[in-house]
């Protein structure tokens, strides 16, 4: 099971980060977004091709009011 922002998702092994972003309503060119998979930053340039493994933990983050 692939976890997206802390919740179980319907993503499957082999799906790309582009699919993960799509689940969140984001385009590949979304501004102010960063992605980590299993605790490592995945640079924007790799989102389209990055394939998710079984049990991947995906975090998709953006700016929120704070500080």
């Amino acid at each position: 099971m692939i976890v997206l922002n802390g919740e179980r998702s319907d993503l499957l092994p082999g799906d790309t980060l582009a699919s993960a972003l799509e689940r969140l309503g984001l385009e590949l060119d979304a501004r102010g977004v960063a992605v980590a998979v299993d605790g490592e930053v995945v640079p924007r340039g790799r989102w389209r091709s990055f394939e998710l493994a079984e049990a991947a933990r995906v975090e998709v983050l953006t700016a929120m009011q704070g500080g």
């Binding site: 960063a34 983050l61 929120m64 704070g66 500080g67």
Partner: protein, 272 residues
Amino acid sequence: MDEPGTSNGAVDVGAAPLRIAGRSLSSRLLLGTGGFPSLELLSEAIALSGTELVTVALRRVEVGASGSLVDVLAAAGVELLPNTAGCHTARDAVMTARLAREAFDTDWIKLEVIGDEDTLLPDAPELLRAAEELVDEGFVVLPYTTDDPVLARRLADLGCAAVMPLGSPIGSGMGIRNPYNISLIREAVEVPVVLDAGVGTASDVTLAMELGCDAVMVASAISRAADPLRMARAMRAAVEAGLLAHRAGRIPRRRYARASSPVEGMAELGLD
């Protein structure tokens, strides 16, 4: 000193712009974006405060979240200062900084590593660890720190671009509890000192500048004021007043009065 004058409704304080890591800032007020009830209000407060640098936090994307903070801030023409708010370990803070660099295309990071939930005071050992690693990775590190001059010096020695000592706990509005330490920090480090946290009202900001701080960071005191826009304007004036007063040089405190009217030339009115 240069001639004080006015332009754009702001006092020209005749000071060179604040420089942090090679970036020039003509406003010495940093604004936190937390606590504003709407992006519209935030946008207006940015304009009234005159700030050029605002903090943002990094959080999970929410599906269908309304309005984009980054778009609003881009439209306001301010630079982003991402923070590591909510991080309790050096490891989390470093990871958050890397994500922020990726998200916002900036090497600047306001480093916060919290050691206690009730006071939100910094965890000094974790803070030093994170600062060292982030400086090594090329970040421009602005650490939120206690008002301890020794810790501030350690952070500066590690290569932090500024230090951000607290006046009192975040959001407490208790102002500057230890002004002596803040002035000691100003003497202890070469890098800019930005008072961060605890500001309750305009006089706290003025005091920080009078103590020699190079800038002040304000969030809740504006966003949670009864009238945030009026307070945003007040804070701008407060920074300017404090900077001017600091440059002007205050009179020494005395235990007894010193007459401001001449003592010579008094009339003898013969009433005794």
